[in-house]
């Protein structure tokens, strides 16, 4: 009775995350508007759906938790209990647990072991325990004739000190998927016992050839009450009866001619091990939900591609140059459109990152006793799927920073003549080939002097350096490793890992970060990230006879310098350029090619943050749009390389990882 649920795993994860997201939104609104019955109904509907989904997948722990959430919500709906912050807090806790479980499922393909007992206890406590316990009936309605196998097993079990029980179960009338529900019940029962008999047979139940009732005989070391409790946790069950099996050897009612019914416990162990093997290989991959219109566009473009292919085939006989040029132009137009279309398929609204922030801000403001209003705009701005995964943590960090360090306490704000409630603005908008995300607060701003003092303390700069630093430069110090201005280490931020991590994370996806700050008025962090990571503009350069690509986004300029101006300082070659010292990197020696030692050097100046370096190349080829291909797992640890790209002639050119040169 192994229903194959693995194929639904993707859908389950995707959908449950969606439901949890909307649950989050609704809870946030409900907290402000506690009397809103519509919200409550919606919440109830979501937990019900989640329960059904988890149940169908056999994730009983999740199902149990949502079941109890549903009970509480039902009680609120029927005005039995009044909603208050305590209830909302507990519901938020449930949400967190469910989120954790959903993530665990997506990573491991199976449910985590957490039974949420504590939370379920809290939920139950809310209900004042005046729910009636259903009456227990010891007598079973039906008596079946058991075959020898059942009786023998039961007898053996008794000798071993185990108990055998008959269980009668009736599903509720409105149960939608009877066989799936029965499957869950079987699974639950099998988790603590061995099923030795079932009526109707397992096959019939699987094929839904039963009414609403079925009965089982099990062998277990559980007590009657425990069994009943376990089964009653499953939803959509109308009645459960557990009774003990009387085996009277003298009164054999067995019809020996009857073939033994399906033995459920047969091969039980092997079945379990194989199914867990399957699950292990079934980790959920990254998915993108795509608007069907976009797929249609893609499809259209592909059909056009096929048309142009046939056209070119036809033309191969008649070699009119004009026709050929026309065809190639047409092809070019299609490939450009195709590129756009595929990129759009990979695009996801940044909402997916943003929507967890309201909750975070709510929790933080409670924790820090500050009043914060989060204003978000541009949630619909679309960025590449890979960017979505990377940008979350840096943004969390920045928002935490703003709330913890930036915004003052309410009483302090009143003293300063500001509004009691602090505002954090989160804004996203597209800007050419980039997406800009701004995190802005109306807090205290950054104190330049304090920053300088701290930097001297931490020995990041000397006192002498500090004197000549401009305001802008001192703000840049915030991004240096090991810098944190908060005097006390709080739970929220100030653990030493600070903005330097944010910066390197953003740079790893080819983005950049800037700060604008006005003392007493607030701070704004501006993040720029490229729309897509897979296709970039690159500069092709020659080193010896080999062609390498340098991402254009990290190049600030290209210049010719005379080699005699290079000086050696402590083993590092530098050159004075525009009144600044510029470290020189000889790419040839980096990739193991002999230096040409020319008098005039072509230097590509690259930057990483505020640092610059001059890369000496043998020759420039030109700028080109390049598709980044990974070097694969086998070569993933090679120094100085970010990947490879395929050139027009089919040859491979390697892409230099500029960030690793600093």
């Amino acid at each position: 009775m192994d229903l194959d649920i693995n194929q639904y795993l993707d859908i389950f994860v995707e959908e449950s995350k969606e439901h949890l997201e909307s649950m989050n939104d609704i809870l946030l609104e409900l907290e402000k508007d506690t009397d809103n019955k519509d919200l409550l109904n919606e919440l109830f509907r979501i937990s019900h759906t989640l329960k059904g989904m988890a149940g169908t997948m056999g994730f009983t722990n999740m199902a149990n938790l949502t079941h109890d959430m549903e009970d509480v919500l039902q009680a609120i709906r029927s005005d039995e209990i009044k909603i208050n912050t305590k209830i909302v807090d507990i519901l938020f806790e449930c949400l967190d647990s469910l989120e954790f479980s959903a993530n665990y499922v997506s990573e491991n393909g199976e449910e985590d072991g957490n039974e949420h007992l504590e939370l379920i206890g809290k939920l139950k406590a809310l209900l004042n325990d005046d729910k009636e316990q259903p009456n227990e009936k010891d007598e079973l309605k039906e008596t079946e004739k058991y075959d020898e196998y059942v009786i023998n097993t039961a007898k053996q079990a008794k000798e071993k000190g185990l108990n055998s029980y008959k269980i009668y179960i009736r599903l509720s009338e409105d149960c939608m998927l009877k066989s799936a529900r029965a499957f869950i019940i079987f699974n639950t029962i099998e988790s603590f016992s061995e099923i030795i008999y079932s009526y109707p047979s397992v096959e019939d139940i699987e094929d839904e050839k039963f009414d609403l009732e079925f009965s089982l005989v099990i062998v277990t070391d559980y007590k009657k009450d425990e069994i009943k409790k376990e089964i009653e946790r499953i939803s959509e069950i109308d009645e459960v009866n557990v009774g003990s099996v009387e085996i009277d050897p003298t009164k054999k009612q067995v019809n020996k001619k009857e073939k033994p019914k399906k033995r459920v416990n047969k091969n039980n162990a092997t079945k379990k091990s194989t199914s867990s093997n399957i699950v292990k290989n079934n980790r959920v991959g990254k998915t993108v939900r795509v608007d069907i219109d976009r797929l249609d566009t893609l499809m259209n473009l592909v059909s056009e591609l096929i048309i142009i292919k046939t056209r070119m085939e036809d033309m191969s006989g008649t070699t009119s140059k004009e026709d050929m040029n026309e065809a190639i132009e047409y092809l070019e137009r299609i490939t450009t459109n195709l590129h756009d279309a595929v990129m759009k398929v990979r695009m996801v609204p940044i909402e997916r990152v943003f929507n967890r922030f309201p909750r975070m801000v709510r929790d933080l403001s409670k924790e820090l006793d500050k009043e914060i209003n989060l204003e978000m705009s541009g949630e619909e701005t679309e960025v590449d799927r890979t960017v979505i995964d990377e940008i979350g943590d840096p943004l969390i960090h920045l928002i935490r920073n703003s709330i913890d360090h930036g915004i003052e306490h309410p009483d302090e704000r009143i003293k300063l003549g500001k509004e009691e409630e602090g505002t954090v603005k989160l804004k996203a908008y597209p800007d050419g080939n980039n997406v800009v995300i701004e995190v802005e607060d109306d807090g205290a701003g950054i104190d330049h002097e304090k920053v300088k003092k701290k930097a001297i303390e931490k020995e990041i700069i000397t006192e002498k350096d500090a004197e000549i630093l401009t305001k802008e430069e001192s703000v840049e110090l915030l991004f240096k490793a090991g810098f944190s201005t908060s005097d006390t280490v709080s739970d929220v931020s100030g653990r030493g890992v600070g903005l330097d991590v944010v910066k390197s994370k953003i740079e790893s996806i080819n983005g950049s970060i800037e700060v604008e700050t006005f003392q007493g008025k607030g701070t704004r962090f501006i993040i720029r990230i490229p729309l897509t990571l897979a296709i970039i503009q690159g500069l092709l350069v020659k080193l010896g006879e080999e062609i390498y690509a340098i991402p254009l986004s990290s190049i600030s300029e290209i210049t010719i310098l005379e080699s005699e101006k290079i000086r050696k300082v402590q083993g590092q070659e530098i050159i004075l350029y525009r009144d600044k010292t510029l470290p020189i990197v000889r790419l040839n020696s980096l990739v193991g090619i002999e230096d040409k030692n020319m008098d005039e050097l072509t230097v590509v100046i690259v930057r990483k943050g505020d640092k610059q370096a001059g890369l000496i190349v043998d020759d420039l080829i030109g700028q080109q749009e390049i598709v980044i291909k990974p070097l694969g797992k086998f070569l993933s640890n090679i120094k100085y390389l970010a990947g490879a790209t395929i050139l027009g002639n089919g040859k491979i050119s390697l892409i230099l990882d500029v960030n690793s040169l600093f």
Partner: protein, 149 residues
């Protein structure tokens, strides 16, 4: 229990190739395709047995010189040389061999464990010695061969 005995009689197919005068075999499940030698792009700072990367139908695939990896005498490629594209644990690489033209079925019971003697560096990549009539086939352990150092 039944399964195991079945496995023992199962005939596994091996892609055979030659290095010098020895026959080597790789399980056919690990082999994606066999390609003619093509020019590689050198990868700087890679291990010395990595010849470079090639463009195989739009994918970038690292190419290893199997002779170097197995500590055999180097030999320039000729028209018989082939690249066997293999895949193990999601790692796809091409192996340069002297020639390859045959697929052979060897029963599992006809594969012996490698002898403990011999050069150590070489030995660790051998899964077993397969026997087919009078021919001996060195069956390589691809997983160990590709183990990133």
């Amino acid at each position: 229990m039944v399964l195991e005995t079945e496995n023992k009689n199962l005939e596994n197919k091996y892609v055979l190739f030659k290095l010098d005068n020895e026959d080597y075999g790789l399980n056919i499940d690990d082999v994606l395709s066999i390609e003619k030698i093509q020019s590689c792009t050198r990868v700087p700072n890679a291990p010395e047995y990595v010849v470079g990367v090639i463009n195989l139908r739009g994918e970038v695939i690292p190419i290893l010189d199997l002779r170097r990896k197995l500590n055999l005498e180097p030999k320039p490629g000729d028209q018989n040389s082939r690249i066997i594209i293999t895949s193990s644990n999601d790692i796809v690489v091409g192996l340069i061999v002297d020639s390859s033209s045959e697929v052979l079925e060897i029963k599992d019971e006809n594969i012996d464990n490698p002898s403990a003697t011999g050069e150590k560096k070489f030995n660790e990549y051998i899964k077993g010695i397969g026997k087919d009539n009078k021919r001996l086939v060195i069956v390589l352990d691809l997983e160990k061969l590709l183990d990133i150092e």
